[in-house]
């Protein structure tokens, strides 16, 4: 896949991998065990401009293309899915706001998000459900004056424990609406969620809104467009980010497995000489190559602003998340008991991989959408 990258993209990928080698991999197990990311590592991502790398330079970002953004997610995903989660949601909030925010909102918030001075969170899922976003019950009501009043709850919100700015989705009557809620807003309660099986350091939280005042300046877009236009832009970048992060995890499984298979002896025989182990490695390596192409294709389509970019991101995320689950399971199998212990990163990969099948739309929701798209294409060609 490397031949599809420019020299600059290859060089940056090299830098990202070095960064992860030095600053992420040695600590990822500790973060997972302690269920928190140290402020210092988020500050480091911010300092390097990674948190706003795909935002335009005039807004304080690096202006990197989506392919390079994907490579950064891949490298971070190899080290820590939880840490990459920060980049995922920061990008979801920033991209949605950059596309649909007012001039004043873009001027006020995007440079701070781009520089990592503030961390954003994307608050869509509710305790009542995540897949059917049209059944949201978080509610905006008109109040006296220009402001709206927000009531309801959001659950499983990545980075909610430490984010300073929430992009929140709800309904105003029967129309969907999105707004920004700064963390210090009166009436917003943030309750940490601990003890997830994976993404344990991603700082998940439940948010409760009790008569939170939303001034007109914090309404994003217009009523009726939050679920059709605003959320899909965020989710699109969330899928690209998660697809590439899952690819990084898959690479981790592959690298750990081949190293183990090459060095571990069963009697006098290297483990890798056993045909059944080779089968597992063959599938992992081929999935890795296939996933790389799908991720690259999704990122290129986003860079070229192609309408099919959205379905390409669905395909990439659908494929790599499922391949990561298979690879992590096989990587644990190849290492035996050692793979079941926290000292081996594959045990963490095994828990993190499953989460990738749930976030940014579950596997079933991807199948529902992609199945519909493919069937629609055939139906139309038969008409």
């Amino acid at each position: 896949m490397q031949y599809l990258l420019t020299e600059q993209q290859k060089a940056r990928h090299g830098d990202f991998k070095t960064f992860v080698n030095q600053n992420v991999e040695p600590f990822a197990e500790k973060w997972d065990r302690e269920q928190r990311l140290p402020e210092s590592v988020i500050a480091l991502l911010a300092k390097l401009g990674y948190l706003g790398c795909s935002l335009p330079t005039q807004n304080g970002g690096h202006g990197w293309d989506t392919v390079t953004f994907g490579l950064l997610n891949e490298a971070l995903g190899r080290g820590s899915s939880s840490l990459n989660g920060v980049l995922t949601v920061q990008t979801m909030v920033s991209k949605a706001l950059l596309k649909w925010g007012s001039v004043e909102q873009i001027r006020k918030w995007i440079p701070m998000l781009a520089q990592g001075e503030i961390i954003g969170a994307f608050a869509l899922t509710e305790p009542g459900g995540g897949s059917d976003i049209h059944s949201l019950v978080t509610e905006f009501t008109d109040s006296r004056g220009d402001s709206l009043v927000l009531n309801g709850a959001k659950k499983w919100i990545s980075c909610g424990q430490f984010a300073s700015l929430f992009l929140v989705f709800g309904k105003l009557g029967d129309r969907s609406l999105a707004c920004l809620v700064p963390r210090e807003t009166p009436g917003l309660e943030v309750e940490p969620i601990h003890d997830l099986m994976g993404f344990r350091a991603a700082g998940l939280a439940k948010l409760t809104f009790n008569n939170v005042e939303v001034p007109p300046a914090n309404v994003v877009g217009k009523p009726g467009f939050a679920l059709s236009h605003i959320a899909p832009v965020g989710l699109h970048y969330g899928r690209i980010s998660t697809a590439c992060s899952a690819l990084g995890l898959l690479r981790g499984c592959f690298e750990e497995s081949v190293t183990w298979a090459a060095t571990r002896k069963i009697g006098n025989q290297p483990l890798g000489d056993i045909g059944m182990i080779r089968s597992l490695i063959a599938e992992m390596g081929t999935d890795l190559e296939a996933g790389s192409f799908l991720c690259h294709s999704a990122c290129r389509a986003a860079d070229e602003n192609l309408p099919e970019a959205f379905e390409k991101a669905l395909m990439a995320k659908y494929f790599t998340s499922r391949a990561a689950v298979r690879a992590a399971s096989d990587a644990v199998q190849i290492q035996g008991a050692a793979g079941c212990h926290a000292s081996s990163s594959v045990s963490r990969f095994y828990r993190d991989a499953k989460i990738m099948e749930i976030i940014e739309g579950t596997t079933q929701i991807h199948e529902h959408l992609l199945g519909g798209i493919f069937l629609g294409q055939v139906r139309r060609s038969l008409q």
Partner: protein, 96 residues
């Protein structure tokens, strides 16, 4: 823009929009005034795919001010929106 070149451009825009819609939504026949957002015709990605298509093909950028269902609800509405966005207006009637 003269009235005849306006009509030509409008025809081209309408054809381009119609072809895109027929290739991306589940409907056999599409009339210029059919409501695209009527239930079942489009999936949840349609709105952003249409937005991206319009941006790409007509070299325009959509933003918050364009979020109005009247701009996208049908072939006619979308065609008129693109014509406005491109600044392709009919010639003003001259002084008589």
């Amino acid at each position: 823009m003269t009235n005849s070149s306006h009509a030509e451009e409008e025809k081209k825009v309408r054809e381009t929009v119609t072809n895109f819609l027929l290739s991306s939504i589940n409907i056999a026949n599409l009339n210029d005034d059919d409501n695209l957002f009527a239930s079942g015709i489009v999936n949840s990605l349609f709105a952003v795919q249409l937005m991206t298509f319009l941006e790409k093909i007509f070299v325009i950028e959509l933003g918050m001010d364009d979020l109005d269902i009247e701009n996208f609800k049908s072939v006619n509405a979308t065609t008129a929106f693109v014509m406005r966005k491109k600044g392709w207006q009919k010639a003003e009637a001259g002084p008589s």
